[in-house]
Symmetry: D2
């Protein structure tokens, strides 16, 4: 039986990355998965090649309107839509459709958090698509609705999870994440012009970024401690990649913490804890679904410094989405997901 798959928001960066990865998915290559409707809003009616000239094999596909009717004809629907919009569309799809929402609408459990950070009504909560969280694979294997994590929460949660879950860290958690420009999406805005971003760095969304409650929610679920999570994103002049630096007071040694991380991630196919003295680098995971993690301790400052590198569009969005889809469809979890980054 062929599984039919649609991508809503196919002209955006998340949609393009999904299609890039899907084109090399064994299911697509052997025909058991079929790439069906590709939809868009303002770009509907255009060739996909106009939006994504790198997707050469799909260049002549025509983008359709994003409507529930068109999407409903598929077994799997990916939603790469602005927040607010995906909740609306999802509500009109059947319970049996596997819906993978790359937007924020269904990530948060707390409606008050949603309203505080997003300012609209909460659409509801879906199983969270981070298979590396304890017990999460089983949940994802038995769901038809998946909320793909935000890119920063993916990098930060994986950098902090073992330490928080095992009680190695204090409650005051500081995260600073350096990100590439593709995280801002493909909308035309002056501050995201090449000439503005090139050769420069700036923090943004300081103290109000929408990924703050999501990170707190992920980590809070791992411990009874009352965590205080400070998160600051910094835009750097690269197109892809998130380098997360998490700094947390600790009394444990680097060896102890690194060993706990190595153990926690020992069977994870995508998470690599580096040996002492080695540091993650976003180029190492570029275009792949991998995560590199470095663990050090500054005994003088009394802090652990854990760093992680992901590709925000791959593991941080489209790769993570496919990983969860694979689990929900009963396929091999790693199917179609690159294990090697594009460097240099």
């Amino acid at each position: 039986m062929t599984i039919s798959l649609a991508v809503a928001g196919a002209s955006g960066y998340a949609g393009g990355e999904l299609l890039r990865l899907l084109l090399d998915h064994p299911g697509v290559r052997d025909g058991s998965i079929e790439i069906g409707a590709l939809t868009a809003n303002s770009n509907a009616g255009q060739r996909l090649g106009d939006s994504h000239p790198h997707l050469i094999p799909l260049a002549d596909r025509v983008l359709e309107e994003t409507t529930p009717e068109i999407l409903a004809k598929h077994d799997v629907v990916f939603l790469g839509l602005p927040h607010g919009h995906s909740g609306e569309i999802a509500a009109q799809l059947s319970e049996d459709t596997l819906v993978v929402d790359l937007g924020a609408d269904h990530r948060l459990a707390d409606a008050a958090d949603w309203e505080k950070y997003y300012g609209t009504e909460h659409a509801g909560t879906w199983p969270y698509g981070l298979p590396e969280l304890p017990g999460q694979r089983e949940i994802l294997a038995n769901t038809k609705k998946i909320a793909v994590p935000g890119c920063f929460p993916t990098g930060a949660t994986l950098a902090l999870m073992p330490g928080v879950a095992r009680g190695l860290f204090s409650e005051q958690i500081t995260v600073v994440s350096v990100t590439g420009s593709s995280g801002a999406g493909k909308a035309a805005k002056v501050p995201m012009l090449h000439a503005e971003v090139h050769g420069s760095a700036k923090a943004y969304g300081v103290a109000v970024h929408r990924h703050i409650p999501e990170i707190t929610q992920n980590l809070g679920g791992l411990t009874d401690a009352q965590l205080k999570v400070s998160f600051t994103p910094v835009l750097a002049p690269m197109a892809r990649g998130i380098l997360t630096t998490a700094v947390i007071p600790t009394s444990h040694s680097a060896e102890e913490i690194r060993a706990a991380y190595a153990e926690a991630y020992a069977t994870e196919p995508f998470v690599h804890v580096l040996p002492a003295g080695q540091q993650p680098m976003t180029a190492n995971v570029l275009g792949s679904n991998c995560v590199q993690i470095g663990v050090e301790v500054d005994a003088t400052a009394g802090t652990a410094i854990v760093t992680s590198a992901i590709d925000n569009l791959a593991k941080g969005t489209a790769g993570g989405a496919i990983q969860s889809m694979n689990i929900a469809l009963g396929l091999e979890e790693t199917a179609g997901l690159p294990l090697v980054g594009l460097a240099p």
Copy 2:
């Protein structure tokens, strides 16, 4: 009377930036300051234009050997040398020579700190060239020896000074600084090749960076509290600029802290505290001696988030050096120091 000035290490990035700024210094323009010997080690004998083809007016100057004899003939000597080397040279110059050391040798007060982080014998301690520190201008006005601050300590100290000095912050201070590649100097190393750095971010020197004790020393001098300072640099793919993010537990509001900063820096010619909602950006200060500072508070996390932007080669090295030289020579402090960055 003409002041004669020499630059040791003129073929490096610090030396080049000094000369770029000095060429537009009013003293050099009106002839009251004369650019004398330019010295180098492996590049001695070559034209300056071979090392710095942008310094067109000085292109035909020939680099001399870095020797105390050559340098001693000048009233002002800038040392842009690897650490260890500047201490050695400085020891052979007269007490009357104004020596401005852009290297690390004379920055730290604590010999044990020096030995721990640099692994060699301590050369001694000189007045610290950060005029914005309380009382520091008077010290600099009466000295013949100046230790120019490191680039990260400049950005971090200015981001934290008013909050620490006024007791607005807790003791646990976390600093993450995103830096451009010129901070690594002009030595040929594979990890600093363009293809390696381009499109990627990585932390380095984690928990062991040599600027850690310098930041701690600067901030520790402002308070009786026992500070714990965690500092992590992250290399981003830009040539210049440091964007510092400092995160500190606090119970004060953003307004309160921002007002304290505005007051503390009210008369500073180079330090600009931004209004609420605005963030520094390294492009804004590119090539200039300015510092932009943003202050926000995340009440949920209970932290102040203070960000600063500098040009690591300008205010962070050569600009800061000229600012201190101006004070020591009794010139106008801002002479020759750009107030406007090169953007976009």
Copy 3:
């Protein structure tokens, strides 16, 4: 007497660069030139600091509407407006106002060329603001209307002028110019987003670029030969800079051609012909008004290969405009124009 100066289109890149340079102009520093109205269209009513946070000394200036009434109150008016718009505004300003048009409207002498490449009615022809052209300084010293050259024509004309004027080249001229992204201006467009331009190169405007007739006009004025000029711009991932490569069949040697260039530019304050084996680099002239030129010959191919580097916003737009203004006002031609680039 104080000269009053207005900038229309102050929120764009050309306007911002004009103001960056003017802030360091000796006339502005000594008060003999006064920066008057700064106008904009969609940004009117906002602070200049919102558009140009690097222009710290002018941050609180409020942008006014671009109207002839406001501009007419000034002795000098710079027009940094989209083509079509500057012709319209200029027509409403007095004959006595020194109008410096950074747009294209008044550059072309041939109305048919204008209509072919711009598709609108021709606004007329003004003296061309490239002082390095033979006899041009005298014309600029006696005019009240100046058409500032396009950025590509500046780089290409200076790369080709001596060879064409002295008959050293054949008629078939090929120019390929690599440019940074600021040349596209500050309008929000998807193809100019950082993520689109980063890490990539592409040609654009191939065979139809609007600077083609301008380059042809400049070079055609130097010779009786019937030139055929092919020009192709290539967008590269940098914010500023144009590196022009001009390839022309020749039977002359590199030494001969280089000597002709050196002679032609011997007294030019901004044009630097490099010795054999050295090549221009855009970083060398970044932010400055300088031009570097390299001359080589490939005897096997029978071609001269002349390269030039300029900063598209400085010498290629705002710096060139100020240079011409200086001449028209009887000031020193080099006043306020940096001679040293910002590298690295």
Copy 4:
């Protein structure tokens, strides 16, 4: 039967890219191809992960010395060595070993050309690994020695081949190729430091670049005309990619030439001729083996302007090498070679 494969020069960029692509080669995935010895010179004895931290699945492989003895144990040997070195090693390998030389030693047919441009003794001439050349696939299917084309010759030859072969162009051919920094290899050199290359463009090897005779040789073999080929490379601040602009006098129309190109490449799996008005972009082919080609004509200048985009490390080096290896081994030509680039 398992095919055993060795990579000499595995720590360099060409070697790393070969391994990145081979890890996803179906032969390697199904075990019919085995990655054997990985050798290096100065890095011998180190882990591959120290040189290429992105090649996570091979991180713990230890680099061996590059000796004929070690390489001789394999069925296929890739040589990613400095020119001169590969000729030496190759001479000591058996006639039956499939040797794929990514270096320059065996590309040129004319020993005088070799000596003029490389200055050493000519090692001999091997079948040239550009399957798209007329008749070349049959040659490659029956050889044990393959000279992989240079990166610039790949981009330039594919941009010019149909036009030259069909007599659509004049003899005077001008090529300007914009390249990323990885083309310079992984050797530590000051001019290739990130801070030097970032934000800047420069031409290099002007009139003397070693790829000039190779381009001339490739094109000369397609026609009886006496071609004159001028080639200039321009370094742009990106890590990968070559955007070639070829300008050639012609009397034919764009439609005519584009149709000839479309026909010539109709069955090529990797070469894509774009429709009118579309231009290649290196990001579109990043990490892939694809080539995009754009064809336009400037009737006023009387020139065709043909542009091509390749990834210099993929189709331009390691991808092209695997493509030829596939042919020589009788495998599917496209095996293991990505058809989709990594954008944005």
